[in-house]
Subunit: 366 residues, 3 copies
Amino acid sequence: MPVLLEAAQAPTLADLLTYLQQQGLCAQLMDQAAAAIKIQGIGSLQQASAQEISFLSNPQLQAQLQGCQAAAVIMTQTVYDQLPAKPHFAAVIFEQPYLMYALLAQWFDQSRLNALPSGIHPTAVIDPSAQIGAGAHIGPYCVIEAGVFIGDSSRVGAGTVIGAHSQIGQHALIHPRVTVYHQVIIGARAIIHSGAVLGADGFGFAPHPQGGWAKIAQLGGVTIGDDVEIGANTTIDRGALDNTVIGHGVKLDNQIMLGHNVHIGDHTAIAACVGVAGSTHIGARCIVGGAAMVSGHLTITDDVQISGGTAVTSSITKAGRYSGVYPFAEHKHWQYNAAVISQLSQLRKRLRTLEREAELHKTKQE
Amino acid sequence: MPVLLEAAQAPTLADLLTYLQQQGLCAQLMDQAAAAIKIQGIGSLQQASAQEISFLSNPQLQAQLQGCQAAAVIMTQTVYDQLPAKPHFAAVIFEQPYLMYALLAQWFDQSRLNALPSGIHPTAVIDPSAQIGAGAHIGPYCVIEAGVFIGDSSRVGAGTVIGAHSQIGQHALIHPRVTVYHQVIIGARAIIHSGAVLGADGFGFAPHPQGGWAKIAQLGGVTIGDDVEIGANTTIDRGALDNTVIGHGVKLDNQIMLGHNVHIGDHTAIAACVGVAGSTHIGARCIVGGAAMVSGHLTITDDVQISGGTAVTSSITKAGRYSGVYPFAEHKHWQYNAAVISQLSQLRKRLRTLEREAELHKTKQE
Amino acid sequence: MPVLLEAAQAPTLADLLTYLQQQGLCAQLMDQAAAAIKIQGIGSLQQASAQEISFLSNPQLQAQLQGCQAAAVIMTQTVYDQLPAKPHFAAVIFEQPYLMYALLAQWFDQSRLNALPSGIHPTAVIDPSAQIGAGAHIGPYCVIEAGVFIGDSSRVGAGTVIGAHSQIGQHALIHPRVTVYHQVIIGARAIIHSGAVLGADGFGFAPHPQGGWAKIAQLGGVTIGDDVEIGANTTIDRGALDNTVIGHGVKLDNQIMLGHNVHIGDHTAIAACVGVAGSTHIGARCIVGGAAMVSGHLTITDDVQISGGTAVTSSITKAGRYSGVYPFAEHKHWQYNAAVISQLSQLRKRLRTLEREAELHKTKQE
């Protein structure tokens, strides 16, 4: 199903295993004769064709091995040992098949990227004071303002605008139609998807004595660590005075909104449609589920998991999982129960009254 | 109020009725003399001017007919029969006035589109291997990559980027500043609004044994059927291995997020700000209200309606309407009641205790 | 921490006070000798350097004055009078330090804007019928369609597209990569952030008798007042027949979605990720918290505050604060209590039964 390389361009299984070894993953091939097989792509157990490699990461799918058409399948030693017979595909043994799949998928995606046009497109408008690293690609209709620095081997997609004095580290992949405002610092190996807006003004106003709102101009910037991925149409506002700060290895899905002066700790992953209001600090290694919202000026400690759709309205000082979602139901059923919500406090009082009466009754009887 | 055509360009009422007939809608004009009236636009009963046509779709607005300035009004036979006298406007009789308004509005919008510049703008950067259909319009500063196919009579707005090997059917209307990544297939008559991003990477990571996250490169694509509309700043991610799939006639509002490998059935309509997490399948003819969220790996059957703001956290196997929204109230009132939420389980226990005591009491008395 | 001007470009404290006076703010300098100090930027009490001005708006931070490095600090007379000794910085006395900071920050941001390139970039594609005001800046790769009007001294950032017959008032700041569709009217001094889409089609469909949906072409426009700010990736849809209307001084954060024919009253401020469905009218001077959602066809009166995350599903006729958020908790705790939500109606009945029995019991005993 996924894009295949033509046979002429395809790597052998041995090539792929060598690449994995360079990444620190040592997989074992059960049948050395299979090393020469050409691998043109990756597929799921059910969809992979005879030119592709597949993987079994979920032991419950073991039954799918029988009908699998793939040339090779990654599996654990335990799974392999349970096979009823020598398999009809090349077995690749590795204890974390899903991780191995992840790195192989990267290899195939990188081979696609390597084939794309490179160099600086003649239509790119680049300020003479900007520094473009060696091997960097700047796509058509990009605008690179004064004092910008773009690291070696980075790709900037078509129509992207990089504001004055911003910096992008090496080996970054900026997709088309991204906006980076002025004075935004982005680390190495960033992946930024189309429509992302980094460094727009935070939302700050003071009531004006003559009525209406006086804008607080946002003078801070944004600092983004290494190995950060930012999804499509996600927005990260610049700080009011100090910077908004995104740690190393942070992964942000699409349509996330991070307000001014938010801090996100290293390796925290946030799913789509999450909003984090201004000045909130989220710790390291947190996982925030989709469509959650976090109020402003809070502190969420490290290693917190927040369920999708939860509104976090106070700080969290203890690691663990937190939730707060109204359970859905058939509409009529929901209506009946939701009507009681506005009486909960009264219900509790009525219950207390009954309890007191029961107490009194018991006391009398004794 | 809406944009009017100049009298010289305006159609007669007869022209419009002929157009509707071609669409399968046979309306009846009560006074044939009115056929020659020039119609320069469409307005509501209260706002339409003497050069415009209006419509009565909601019988409760019947009283507005009296003061209506419109040259012509679409109404049902029933409404017409109830008029106290021959009306001062031309009556157009049709059993579904709202549908007739819809098609007339399309006619006026199409006449605006027809007047826009067409052809391939000289600034468009188009790879020589791309195929551009007859009569297609490619706007200024578009970038069309290798192997792209664009169908006949399609319009691609300014600054839109279409990635390698993507396809767009005929008679599509792609507004300015859209991003279509590589290998995204879009059917005929698509309408895609500005800021939409189709085919960005799904959000997939495996924990890396050395800490942090290993990216799962997203090798699948996106397949979008015919007659699909996609709203402004909506994002649809590409699949991990297989494709994300949007059926025929699906209507998506603004700022919707569909994760990787989501499937949306034919003619389903989704309102703004909805998020659907990865691998969830939503059936045909569903209606999802605004700001609803749907968790990942679920199956929602056909003909389901989900109320706005509902968090759907488990699969739905039965057609019907589902809801789950916390009722809002004056802040103080909400606070009192919300404080009880964290004690609900305790309250239920206390109620059970009282019930047991009451049971016991009754038993004793018998 | 924030961007500093070089000493040669920096204003003196006296320059800044004169500017504030022109804005109607009369601050008092306690030590006239300080008037000549060069101010290169603004910093918080803890971060400001010796070349910067700072401010104390929150009396609880008074202790930070001692270690403050700033050249000058804005404070109230009351705070000044409580200082234990003549301060080591220049004291600037003003009763609203936060407002003064706001205007000073504007000054510094304006000085940055003034230094940006201006004029019409040769790559901008501008229809001959468009009118561009005196001193306006049109950035690279902008597309300005027929009949557009852009007011004096306005800036239009790179890659922005302005559709036919739209108007932008004077002194506007349109950031890069904004889309304004056709017939959108925007007032003076607008600030519109990157990725915003103004005037895309509202979400309107009629069920088609032959199955599926018939599009209601959206013939209305958008009217936006003076002094409006619109955040990154926010979308405002055009009206179906009449216009969508945004009042004067309205402030919209990022990723907000306003449906067709929404009206927002003057000086209302809406935080990020809010959705307002079609035809809803929100009054003047309202404040809507982040990620709130407002259903369609409602009327919210003036001076209403809606807490973040609240779903407003019915009209509000009385000013005040409204909330409706499910309280979050540790996951297990949430699970226990959420399980009771679906029994609330039953619980109320059981409670009522017990109350009746208790009544009966008491009656018997009397």
